[in-house]
């Protein structure tokens, strides 16, 4: 029973004051990202956005329950391959019955509890997967060119624009790609153990835009 109780705990609400300091997968590469920043009309910059809260939600599609779950989060159900909400708190469409809530920590408090009370006894699940992935943020006029080197998706604005998300291969790793701004500006959610690989790949792709 103790174990069951631990699972029920809202991780986003766990008392972090007493916990050991957290480490993000790419925290030691911040200076490297700074140095790789390219400015100007063909500029691009990369940084890590660590510790975003992520909840994986399995909800029956087109159902009163999915409406209730979205409402409990104060968001609208995302359309296929789209994101609803804003950068600080958003629902990403991952599949016909699967969403990912991505939110800043302070805006995710109570989210898991709210989802669970909306789900009640309906089929589905809600799991805190915040530790699964870290987030890379790629921005600047050349950001799309950088991504196009490692991704086979059509990222032209006519096919992929602000508020779109996709799960796809970047290089050899699976990632969730989400365009957050028209600059263009992208968030790339990648498994922690693949974060170093993806950072290397993107830094290499960014190198040509760095002058001098």
């Amino acid at each position: 029973m103790t174990v069951l109780h631990r699972v029920e705990t809202d991780l986003a609400e766990a008392d972090t004051a007493t916990a050991a300091p957290r480490h993000s997968p790419l925290e030691h590469r911040g200076a490297e990202f700074e140095r790789a920043t390219a400015l100007g009309p063909r500029g691009v910059r990369l940084r890590e956005e660590p510790f975003l809260t992520q909840l994986n939600l399995r909800v029956p599609p087109d159902d009163a329950v999915s409406e209730a779950v979205a409402e409990a989060l104060d968001l609208t159900p995302p359309a296929a391959n789209k994101v609803s909400g804003d950068e600080g708190r958003a629902l990403l469409w991952l599949g016909p019955d699967e969403w990912l809530l991505v939110a800043e920590e302070e805006r995710a408090r109570g989210a898991l509890r709210a989802v669970r009370s909306a789900q009640q006894d309906a089929s589905g699940s809600s799991v805190d997967v915040s530790a699964n992935r870290t987030t890379l943020r790629l921005a600047g006029p050349a950001a799309r060119e950088v991504l196009e080197k490692v991704c086979s998706l059509d990222l032209h604005p006519r096919a992929f624009s602000v508020g779109d998300c996709a799960q796809t291969l970047l290089g050899r790793t699976v990632a969730v790609l989400w365009q957050v701004g028209p600059d263009p500006e992208y968030r790339v959610l990648v498994r922690c153990s693949f974060a170093e690989y993806l950072a290397d790949l993107l830094l290499d792709a960014m190198a040509e835009f760095l002058e001098g």
């Binding site: 991952l94 996709a166 799960q167």
Partner: protein, 89 residues
Amino acid sequence: MLLIRCPWCGDRDEVEFRYGGQADVAYPTDPHELDDAEWGNFLFVRANPMGALTERWVHTAGCRRWFSVVRDTATNEMTPDIPRRRESR
């Protein structure tokens, strides 16, 4: 490389998918009634036409959903499978 249309994510490269073999291979109603030859037939023997074959694919690097398509094994041309009732055997 094939460009495969995932019913959920749209057109994606073949490397994002895994192949699941022939579709609509029904599990025997009562496996105990089968003799070894019939059981072996169910496990291993698949259609191998030169032409249309209904297949299972999974979009592993995307939405991770299984779906069926009809692929022409000679030209690799794919068309969406029209869902229909499985024939019982």
